[in-house]
Subunit: 417 residues, 2 copies
């Protein structure tokens, strides 16, 4: 049997007999011929079958035939004089037409039938872009001396806040799904200095919003021997630039220096721009994040903006305070097109500082004993960040709901498929 | 402040004043000088400090000093005329000496203190090799047109057997941790044709052995448009060759053609070699896997051996039978140095075949409804495999226990750190 050719490679085989294989994307019957558009992983190719009939859409077929140039065929080439064989049973029709330029179905219908809906070239494209982005992230960090790690997703105590965690029965013991690899990546700075992890994190998020998922893919990094959070931001800039470079068609430009505004100055700016006065609030409202993003685009020509120095009150206990203004922190968010894309900062690295930080918050150090121990054994100043892959992809492509950037989303109401 | 130099780069700075930073790996006090060996992510470097004293082992320091060639120094270079600053508190002593050539501690002590034990250069090295292996796996499959995916780890029904699953309370519903991405990767063949995933899988493994973990990292791949399982084996060979090539120091050679023996012939061979008669058994005993591996090395010079055609009785219901001998399957295991490293095979791809396969086993199709639906909508012949990363690393490095190739293992008795 002649070996298979992808439809995107048909132009290189004009005048040859080839074998292609894929799904019947579209079947158009004219009086004396049927045009069968075959979809494979490389794209779409047309087969001209004499007579009418032929297998229904989504049936998997293989076709041997002659590659023929035809300016009127999609792409300029088609397969003629075909012999068609079925590789699957004749397919049952999907609940929507996959051959239309865009999928005409509601988001719940798409998600309920994800394995079929994702076959639509536009939906599929979202996830080849996500895959390329992750490759760009890894490549950037590999180039900066980072080591990739895999850490436990089943943990004995809640990672950060103790709320929104999923409980597990672990051989009769109570355990939890990890909300982040935070404590592990910090401990591993003591081993590798620079680590990253690409993996699932779990939030029992009780709110049903367009931006929250019960499981998402977190791109986590942590590095030691930093001066402060600005060294972390420099690495993050490289990581995001690597992600954007891996998706050149997106046209996203990551500035060499991403503009930066301190939280206090951001609040002043919001007051000036909006007439509202957010001062005294310990965090930014989503509307204010959009306002700041617009401002950065207008005045700096940048779709990215670092907001630094969030108040300690709203950051986790392991956050390093700003030594000059201890009510503010050495932390940052990275806004991208109006939305928080990344959270990060410098962490505490001295054991005594952890004990104090927990005491100030009225928390017991006991649940964190395993975590804290490593800081008594020599940890360098360090920091890191976490970036949600689905959020990145959704923003990059202008998808309004993060579920559209998730193959099989999990949320308050969705546990299948 | 002068920028930091890694200790491995000291030879390039002889005669210059540099800054290095890292952990006090070893402190050796002589009469009038103290040798401080600094460990950073690149290796070890010696600093010569006048007088005695200095910070204890594992304290994080930075040192500015003059790079001086000294044939008697480790590596031939050292830092003299130093000024030493502390980046951490003076470290509490770890429960073992990290500066010894090998770590003198029992496995439980190592695992209880993993964040510290992993600082030992030999233990750390295991995980840089694991990271390189994963990079090699991805690179090989990227080159073959595969797309990387992320799939749900929380599922509504048990993936394969219904046993050994961890239960979760999912917003008041009963859910499970995924034992494998099996069903998702198959469905995604319908989208991308060729997919892989690197991610955690979960087994509530009730046995306490040297080769089982409750969470491990599965390297999963699945591809469509195969003739049979041999096309899957060809891709697997490339993936494993990519992993071995990423760790050249291992010296592992993956033959262009990995030798292959059918299960039935393997049983005959075992009978001949061992005097035992395993015929009638539906699987291979670990001792017999070792016997076959030894045989492959002796007669084919290969540390790898494919055993194909396992009896259908011992393979999951989605396994494709051998059309010529339907009691056997189009499946395989890949043995590496005496141990099963990979399991894979061709899967059923027709809806009707799934319904029949489940009926034959007396199982209801209802729990698999979401999974089966996709096969009614056109799926090509396909197959795939799963490779346990920790098992690979352990075998590659001759580590007797898979926990030694896991940063923070999870098992029947271990939920922390």
């Amino acid at each position: 049997m002649i070996s298979r050719v992808l439809v995107a490679d048909l132009p290189r085989h004009v005048g040859e007999r080839v074998r292609i294989a894929g799904w019947v994307h579209r079947r158009r019957q004219l009086k004396s011929v049927t045009f069968v558009v075959v979809r494979d992983r490389s794209g779409l190719g047309q087969v001209v079958v004499a007579g009418s009939g032929g297998p229904p859409e989504e049936t998997v077929i293989e076709v041997e035939g002659l590659v023929t140039a035809n300016p009127r065929a999609p792409g300029g080439f088609e397969v003629t004089e075909p012999s068609v064989g079925l590789l699957s049973e004749p397919a049952e029709p999907p609940p929507f037409d996959l051959y239309r330029p865009s999928l005409r179905a509601s988001l719940p219908t798409v998600l309920d039938n994800a394995a079929l809906a994702l076959r639509h070239p536009r939906l599929k494209e979202v996830f080849t872009i996500a895959a390329a982005s992750v490759a760009g992230f890894r490549s950037a960090l590999d180039g900066l001396g980072f080591t990739e790690t895999q850490t436990p997703k089943i943990v004995s105590s809640a990672t950060e806040s103790g709320v929104n965690v999923f409980g597990i029965d672990y051989f009769g013991e109570r355990a939890f799904l990890a909300q982040s690899p935070q404590f592990y990546k910090q401990a591993l700075v003591g081993v590798f200095e620079r680590v990253y992890e690409v993996g699932p994190v779990f939030r029992a998020e009780p709110h049903d919003t367009a931006r929250h998922l019960a499981q998402y893919t977190s791109l986590d990094a942590e590095l030691g021997f930093v001066e402060d959070h600005h060294d972390v931001m420099t690495v993050l800039r490289e990581a995001v630039a690597g992600m954007a470079a891996a998706v050149p068609a997106s046209g996203v430009v990551v500035p060499e220096e991403i503009p930066e505004i301190h939280f206090a100055d951001a609040q002043d700016l919001i007051a000036r721009l909006s007439g509202e006065d957010p001062r005294g609030e310990p965090d930014l409202a989503p509307a204010h994040e959009r306002l700041l993003s617009d401002w950065a685009l207008r005045t700096h020509g940048s779709e990215f903006l670092f907001v630094t120095g969030y108040p300690m009150a709203k950051r986790p206990f392991y956050t390093h305070p700003d030594p000059e203004r201890p009510a503010y922190s050495n932390s940052f968010d990275l806004l991208f097109r109006g939305l928080e894309l990344v959270t990060g900062g410098q962490r505490l690295h001295r054991y005594a500082d952890y004990v104090t930080a927990l005491a100030v918050r009225g928390e017991s150090a006991e649940p964190y004993r395993d975590y804290l121990d490593v800081f008594a054994h020599g940890m360098p100043p360090h920091g890191g960040f976490a970036l949600g892959l689905e959020r990145w992809t959704a923003r990059l492509l202008g998808l309004p709901n993060v579920r559209q950037a998730t193959l099989f989303p999990r949320d308050l109401h969705r546990l299948a498929p």
